[in-house]
Symmetry: C2
Subunit: 648 residues, 2 copies
Amino acid sequence: MQAKEQTCGPVVPTAQACAVERPLGVPDVRITGGPWARWQTVNRDVSFPLGLARLESEGNFGNLRLASGETTGEFRSPVFMDGAVHKMLEAAAWEVVREPNDRLEVFLTQAGELLERAQQDDGYLNSYYQVVRVGERYTQLDRSHEIYLGGLLALAGVARVRGGGEGALPRVARRFADHLVETFLHSDGPGFDGHPGAELAFVELYRLTGETAYLDYARKMVEDRGHGMLGKGHGGLRYFQDHQPVREAETVVGHAVRAMYLEAGIVDLYLETGDRTLLDASVRRFDDMVATKMSIIGGIGSRHRGEAFGDGYELPPDRAYNESCAAFAAIFWCWRLLLATGEGRYADLLERLLFNAFAASTSLDGSRFFYVNPLQRREDHFEADDPGRRCEWFACPCCPPNIMRLVSSLGHYLATTNADGIHLHQYAASEIHAPVGDGEVVLTVDTDYPWSGSVAVEVRETPAGEWTLGLRVPGWCDSARLVVAGEEVDATSDTQGYVRLTREWREGDKVSLDLDMPARLVRPDRRIDALRGCVALERGPLVYCFEQVDQPAGVALPDLVVPSEAAVRVVDHPDHPVLGRTVTVEVAAGVLPVPAATGLPYTSAPAPTDPAEPTTAVAVPYFQWDNRDGGGMRVWLPELEDGVAHGG
Amino acid sequence: MQAKEQTCGPVVPTAQACAVERPLGVPDVRITGGPWARWQTVNRDVSFPLGLARLESEGNFGNLRLASGETTGEFRSPVFMDGAVHKMLEAAAWEVVREPNDRLEVFLTQAGELLERAQQDDGYLNSYYQVVRVGERYTQLDRSHEIYLGGLLALAGVARVRGGGEGALPRVARRFADHLVETFLHSDGPGFDGHPGAELAFVELYRLTGETAYLDYARKMVEDRGHGMLGKGHGGLRYFQDHQPVREAETVVGHAVRAMYLEAGIVDLYLETGDRTLLDASVRRFDDMVATKMSIIGGIGSRHRGEAFGDGYELPPDRAYNESCAAFAAIFWCWRLLLATGEGRYADLLERLLFNAFAASTSLDGSRFFYVNPLQRREDHFEADDPGRRCEWFACPCCPPNIMRLVSSLGHYLATTNADGIHLHQYAASEIHAPVGDGEVVLTVDTDYPWSGSVAVEVRETPAGEWTLGLRVPGWCDSARLVVAGEEVDATSDTQGYVRLTREWREGDKVSLDLDMPARLVRPDRRIDALRGCVALERGPLVYCFEQVDQPAGVALPDLVVPSEAAVRVVDHPDHPVLGRTVTVEVAAGVLPVPAATGLPYTSAPAPTDPAEPTTAVAVPYFQWDNRDGGGMRVWLPELEDGVAHGG
């Protein structure tokens, strides 16, 4: 696999792609402070070492050694164990681009060589089918993950090449990809397996290499899906989105992570082929998902069973599945839609996903992970034998490596260029290098975002001539102020959600954007049955939650209510003893008396009208929850109207 | 297995048992009209033939033929397929006692002989371990169901013997039971498997035979559970109630059906041993379950995942699992608690379970069954590929045979005797023969219950001397009238929930009980988050629901709201075109305008205050739902206060 000279990031549309926005590479954007920088630090120092140790102790490497024939022993389940290796290789490839890292270089080299030893002569590589089910390759595509894993490996190879790396990894990835193309591109049978994800990978491989066969294969996978070619599998056609062709399906269904990967691949295919019917169908499902199947933290997948989307407006706070990987993959979809359209609403949603559903998946110290991200945990909570806290690793090791690969490549998602100049989509303290015209612009962003809405941008280097600096005004922001080179200008965003400043910039020019960021009470659409009569709290891009540990002594979370016009107070914590940098919100709330618990909890007796006692409830950012004890948590609290809570 | 002369019913405590109430046999109570009679008719005419055909077509018989060596071929999954045969044998044994049935006599004989041919020389019988996992018996007790299936077979044998039947079935059942006792009674390892149910079966076998080894083995199973002896299995210790000893556990957890069978066995063990610590612990969990883990229809098990109980107050209407078998098994528990204590609250709950969660599991024509019984179905509902309607059979064939064995033995659950006379716990048109003193009392009950609350009891035969007729005044009834032999008497129930009439009864004496049965709006405890701000409708023992098909044209179920003081009108249908005999309820309701669906369904904008348009919503008994189309259904509707619905 040879690197063409191109941007060093995960998603790099070709020159001829119909992308409105062009992404920057991982090394082009250095995160210098704020939560993103903290995430990158603990990712490097804690999550990576932990993950590498797990690849050994859980048997992922061991399975590959069995496949290579250098050892004997038992294969360690599940069937897709190779995937954690491939994902961590991609993560490591971005991490070493972001910052030199000897240990990860060794991993990239050694794991690449192990994969090469395990790879079969014809390019096939899958430890499960090489060790446990010899001779059965491609006979169980509904559940085998063989093609999906080939896609993950391809992405690792792409990342390594874009980062200037060489060696076994790119060779192995390309050989497996070529084997897949040879096997499936012109076959009559299904060219895909039960787990979408390879579509976007083969588009990216095409982008890297210019080989149209990869794009053709991605197209075949997308076109073949939706005709029931895989059979019903163990979860039905909807489970892996094989129930309807991608242009016909009106709403996302089935396994949420798979649905998201598929959509990202569909938009990638649009970007490189210009087939507008693909984009239109994907946008239609995106709009429907956001309006009816997404929780306030951006989490998706309402059902534990099948890790699946529920029906429209089925959005329970306690049983929300909101798999970390689904947030990760939804970010993939948002990002590609943003590149395809330039519309700020996709950046808005990406921000919501990133700061809430995604960020919450990792403990503050980077050592533990949520697989499931609910919006409520009761004091007595158990999920089977598990009290619902973050874990160091999982039998199905999908989430932690996904978290690592996104955190290492976060810089890629901050800004883009287009024909006119630069767009800032996300705000983080950073240094940005971007090609504009024939030159390079260097910007520094100084901000305490999301704790504060003040963002200071300084032009450090600029070519001569006019260019545009676009700044997103988030959808959550009702009032913004903008000062450019000492002069206040109109901060009203255009229909796409950006203010655009076009001028001949000079070194040292300063832009100051102030996004008003009050804490705000939010109500759900009445069709969300599970949230009826409740309110939540947001501030800026952050969703807040109430943890039992923060409430006044004697105040139990299930008895807390929020008056309709509750006063709120924002409290800045430069260095909270456990949470570090944070902003909490105090709410003038009420406490209801505890009802008796005898007999069935349904009665035709009049609802009690006991008044609520005033108290002060304390909310913390959702993404910082479960870093103290295992007590109760709620994002949504009952609203108290006229001093009486609904339902007695 | 020899029959001692004893009552011919499923639960027959010994003479020395500490039972407050003594049950009647199945043939002692003939159901003559009303829903129970209808259920028994379609059970006989439709469900049984369908079930017998399925035992052949699904491979249950085939597996046993493989085990017997008379055929060769593939074992048909799941591992517990024998259980459907055993359960249908018990059902058939009660059915032929209720009413002669040649076809079922043939089944009882032939299936009994097939089981005998399959049974191994040492008494072991399990087609899966005899065909698929030869030599591995008892090595996978966490998942094998071997002992559980032995219990089901024992119950079939007990039923056959109590009904006066002979032949292979009782022999096979007893031989397997003896094998289990020999293998496990004095073993150090666990004497139970992952699926409770054998406990109550071995108590019943003791009751039939007087063999104390069976009681000792039941005790060992109960005492051994809760110490983690089975390992974690695939669902954790809580899944099969192995997390805490039965005297210590405070609340029901894990797989709901298993929890219920275990509790029924615990109460049976109390009844025969007098160990009060067992009863106290079981009652404690019962009270907690009713107050915090039971839906209004009596359904239990809030989670699809693991078919499990949720946390306290986790009671979603849409995702309620409420497995039909869990309602069936909860009836087992209620019945034994009633026998142990004589407290009417257990009969109240049994009635709620029977007329709602249990009755809804079968279509009106007896040909289709629910495995899952939710309280809400959205128009766009899908569970994997399945739109959530009743099915003819299931890959896991547990529910239909359980429904059959309860419906055939329904007479057993209507009345009991005690030292003073007779107690009527449930009301159905019937003829009751009960031993009182040295004689026999014959009663006829004439009633249109549950459509009307009028119950007329006539004494047809009576021995000389005083005895007591006890009549349950249901907990849902606020006002009752009682006329005895033409004279009005006080209808106030005692603390146990009964009015007791003690006198020297004469043939022809008439008692007339009138239970006031208005339709009533019911509100949930405020701690049930998923039902906040909603009301439901009940009348008598019936929970009602709103099906889309019954609502006025243009009125969509998600837009319906019920004013706090809504007028209701009860409409009697002697012969509804589809539902047959029914009573519907019309509610003066409101329709809210449909909100726009764009962007995230969460907003800090003020809640809309559009007024509701008046309309008339129509409710039908929950147990009659899904007999028309596959449209929406709701048990709980949002309550409209001051003309404005909560949550906009």
